[in-house]
């Protein structure tokens, strides 16, 4: 596969527009909570723009009408400055994805017409390859950006030696070193020793590979890999296993898996009873998640939602969720969890920013006095993507043996509390790129073994 793309030398990018945009989105996600974000904005500005735009489109889709200020607040949750958000809205208007209704000349309401996510990704990818004058904010990628995207795409499909990567990218030393340092900063390209050479691997390689890894483990007699296999299986039996609830020895193995990539983490920062705590949930790279695919769960919504349920099942302070399946079914059937809250809009940051729920202004009545009040109700955005996410999450949850009706009211309340009080949720790529991963202790031996796993599963690096 040709990976060269230097507009000044008239080489042609052969990456399909969908994959170009998807990889750009993944790089953006790696840098979105990253202290080295400025590196990305300096050297990969258009890649970051692509990632932002795709993320914003995914969040706004099927919201129908959004007040402009609220849309800017939602964009801020995605890490956009207000002026960047305004530019992005105007970009969407040029694409026909938004109508900006103005009042006295100022933007007032956004009306969305955003297409399916896969088509959004493809269109943005096409614009980077073939810019339109009507959409001046989406520009072609520079040589370094194209090489970074191609390097990620290459290493996400299989590990490859440094020599092979250099050859494929066709870069000089300074440029290659820059690609390498960007990949290291964003943690989407990892370098590892390989006999007398070095190889590059992306943690994205592991996505959707659970069956292959499991089959490989089952054939092994090597003692060093057995603990990894056991931990992986444990996480597959209880998908969304909280890291905190593992035995200390198994935690070390899990952390090595997180660092290497064969265990996928989602971390939430939740406030319960005035105390804020981090919780990390572990996911095996199951193919049903459809990660890292233009038509799949690009933003890991299934894992985010499942983490919320695991949080409610295991860590809610007073009562815990007993029957998460019933909660999912209620959400799918009715589209909401609770009555209106008079609390502020920003209490549902997590699901709002992920495009799972929107907040609908409604009137409710207080229980005891029957007084009317105006509040916000979290309502499910019934996009085809979210419905697929609910199906995936339901298939991974276990039905309680208790009669569902007994616990449903309580479970809904707990689920609602979790979503209300979780302000931050880091998907796996965001987590890997953030400072949070540095809080975990390092286990070089285990990490090396885990990295070698990738080489053995795919039969060696591309040379």
């Amino acid at each position: 596969m040709l990976l060269r793309s230097f507009p000044e030398e008239n080489f042609v990018v052969t990456l399909h527009p969908k994959w170009l945009a998807l990889r750009s989105t993944e790089i953006h996600r790696c840098f979105s909570r990253n202290p080295n974000e400025y590196h990305a904005f300096l050297h990969l500005p258009h890649v970051m723009r692509v990632g932002q735009v795709v993320r914003l489109a995914n969040m706004l889709r099927l919201r129908r009408f959004i007040e402009y200020d609220k849309a800017k607040a939602l964009s801020h949750l995605l890490g956009m400055q207000p002026d960047t958000a305004e530019v992005n809205f105007e970009t969407f208007e040029s694409l026909g994805w938004l109508t900006i209704h103005r009042k006295h000349g100022e933007p007032n309401i956004l009306e969305e017409h955003i297409p399916l996510l896969e088509n959004t990704i493809e269109k943005i990818g096409e614009l980077t390859m073939d810019p339109e004058p009507e959409v001046p904010t989406i520009k072609p990628l520079s040589a370094i950006e194209t090489a970074s995207v191609n390097a990620l795409d290459f290493c996400a499909r299989r590990p490859c030696t440094e020599e092979a990567l250099r050859s494929e990218l066709g870069l000089g030393d300074p440029e290659f070193n820059l690609i390498e340092s960007l990949g290291r900063a964003g943690k989407y390209l990892e370098k590892m020793p390989l006999k007398q050479k070095s190889a590059f691997l992306s943690p994205i390689y592991y996505f959707n590979q659970y069956d292959e890894i499991k089959q490989f483990m089952q054939r092994q007699t090597v003692e060093t890999l057995a603990p990894l296999g056991k931990t992986l299986e444990h996480c597959a039996e209880y998908v969304g296993q909280p890291l905190q609830m593992l035995e200390p020895s198994e935690q070390k193995i899990a952390i090595s898996g997180i660092r290497t990539g064969w265990l996928i983490p989602v971390t939430t920062n939740t406030q319960f009873g005035g105390v804020t705590k981090d919780f990390t949930f572990l996911f095996p790279p199951l193919s049903k998640f459809q990660d890292s695919h233009p038509g799949g769960d690009v933003f890991e919504k299934a894992k985010v939602l499942l983490s919320s349920f695991r949080l409610g099942e295991n860590f809610a302070p007073t009562t815990k969720i007993r029957d998460p399946v019933a909660v999912i079914r209620k959400l799918r059937r009715v589209g909401r969890l609770s009555k209106p809250h008079s609390d502020a809009f920003d209490q549902y940051k997590l699901p709002a920013s992920k495009g799972i729920l929107l907040l609908k202004k409604e009137t409710g009545k207080t229980f005891y006095t029957g007084e009317e009040y105006t509040g916000y109700t979290p309502v499910l955005i019934k996009s085809e993507e979210n419905m697929k996410v609910l199906d995936t999450v339901e298939s991974l949850l276990e039905r309680s043996t208790e009669i569902a009706t007994k616990t449903l009211e309580n479970d809904l309340k707990v689920a609602n509390e979790v979503l209300k009080n979780t302000s931050v949720c880091l998907e796996s790529l965001e987590f890997r790129g953030s400072n949070w991963i540095s809080r975990f202790p390092k286990e070089p031996t285990l990490e090396r073994r885990a990295a070698e796993l990738a080489l053995v599963v795919c039969g060696g690096a591309y040379e």
Binding site: R64, F65, T99, H101, I109, H113, P115, N119, M387, K388
Partner: protein, 380 residues
């Protein structure tokens, strides 16, 4: 519907019937001819024609069709009732209207009832009109002779340049199944965008096509309402093919052609030099706008109760805004529709805009041609 017969002495009566059907929530069209077809091609022989055809859309249900014969004469011939019953059967209509303004229809009352036809004379029709608050001084532009004549002019312009489009929109559309209606109306709209017509005519005709396009769209939505979202794409492809059996048949035919061509290439000793993509006909079954259509149907499905008003809304836009050259406003559009709640209006308006955006996305409209409609903000 041909919008022909501009000088017909019964035109006024037809327009009154259309207005009445509109008021009770139907989507009416005048003067639909039925031609004889031979080996799939239309001949010049006219079987008959229908004065007014109306469709009523209901959520979660097949659309109800009404056919109407409206004349200002004295005749009330029972034979005509049987003719009307035959036409009802041909269109799968649930009801017929037989209007003879100067006739005494007492003698045919029992027969009408048996054939599920409503027989009316002038006095009885006036009673119906007053029941739905129709006043002769307050008739929407779209049911006036002026509008009818303008529409007729535009249709004649299209007829002079591209007769197949004219024939399809005026006649064949009404006898096609929903999948063909959808795809062929789309093709007509695409072709109209490129025809050398006056700007106002080209713009009106495309909006008219958008309105006709929404009729089978609502029908398809009702067929697929219970389909899980993850299976919608597959189901939509099947419905557009005409159903599972038709899809399988078409796939088999293409597969047979592919095998035949490979055999031929082998015979000519050319199999190795011919790239395999020349034998891949799967693109022939591919609908280029399928993803956008899927997005549209998903949006319709989410608001299926209000989706049934979309054909009427687009009709109002085509006639009252575009043809009449009025500036569009929420009141202009919804003033002509049966009473809806605020939420229903908002949802229906949004869906109508989504149809226009679908056309714009597929380059049938330019942005500026629909901008004034998109800028209408509903009552929030």
């Amino acid at each position: 519907m041909s919008y022909s017969g501009v000088d017909d002495k019964d035109l006024g009566l037809k327009l009154r019937m259309m207005n009445y059907f509109w008021k009770i929530g139907n989507f009416p069209r005048p003067s639909i001819p039925l031609y004889r077809y031979r080996k799939g091609k239309r001949t010049s022989k006219l079987f008959t024609d229908i004065d007014v055809l109306a469709i009523q859309f209901l959520p979660l249900s097949e659309p109800l069709v009404i056919v109407c014969s409206a004349k200002s004469g004295k005749e009330s011939d029972p034979a005509q009732l049987f003719w009307l019953a035959g036409v009802m059967n041909y269109f799968g209509a649930s009801k017929g209207y037989y209007v003879r303004t100067k006739a005494s229809i007492e003698s045919i009352r029992q027969l009408s009832k048996k054939l599920n036809i409503v027989s009316l004379n002038e006095d009885q029709f006036k009673i119906l009109e007053s029941n739905v608050d129709i006043e002769s001084s307050d008739i929407p532009f779209m049911f006036t002779k002026d509008c009818y004549k303008k529409t007729n002019d535009f249709f004649n312009k299209v007829k002079n340049i591209k007769r197949p489009i004219y024939n399809y929109l005026t006649e064949r559309y009404w006898i096609n199944p929903p999948n063909y209606r959808l795809m062929r109306t789309y093709s007509c709209a695409q072709d109209l965008a490129r025809l050398n017509l006056p700007n106002d005519c080209r713009l009106f005709m495309r909006y008219y096509c958008a309105s006709l396009f929404s009729v089978p769209l609502v029908h398809l939505m009702n067929l697929m309402i219970s389909t899980p979202d993850n299976l919608m794409k597959e189901r939509l492809e099947t419905e557009l093919m005409g159903g599972e059996i038709a899809q399988v048949e078409k796939t088999k035919i293409l597969h047979s052609v592919k095998l035949l061509m490979k055999d031929f290439a082998r015979y000519m000793n050319a199999i190795k030099s011919v790239p395999s993509r020349f034998f891949d006909f799967s693109n022939l079954l591919k609908i280029e706008y399928l993803d956008d259509l899927l997005d549209l149907i998903l949006r319709f499905k989410q608001r299926f109760k209000e989706a049934v008003f979309v054909p009427q809304i687009l009709d109002v836009i085509a006639f009252e805004v575009i043809l009449r050259r009025e500036s569009p406003s929420f009141d202009t559009i919804f003033g002509h529709l049966p009473k809806l709640t605020r939420v229903q209006k908002n949802n229906a308006a949004k869906l109508s805009k989504d149809v226009l955006v679908f056309f714009e996305r597929n380059r049938i409209f330019k942005r500026k041609e629909i901008e004034s409609i998109l800028k209408i903000l509903p009552e929030m």
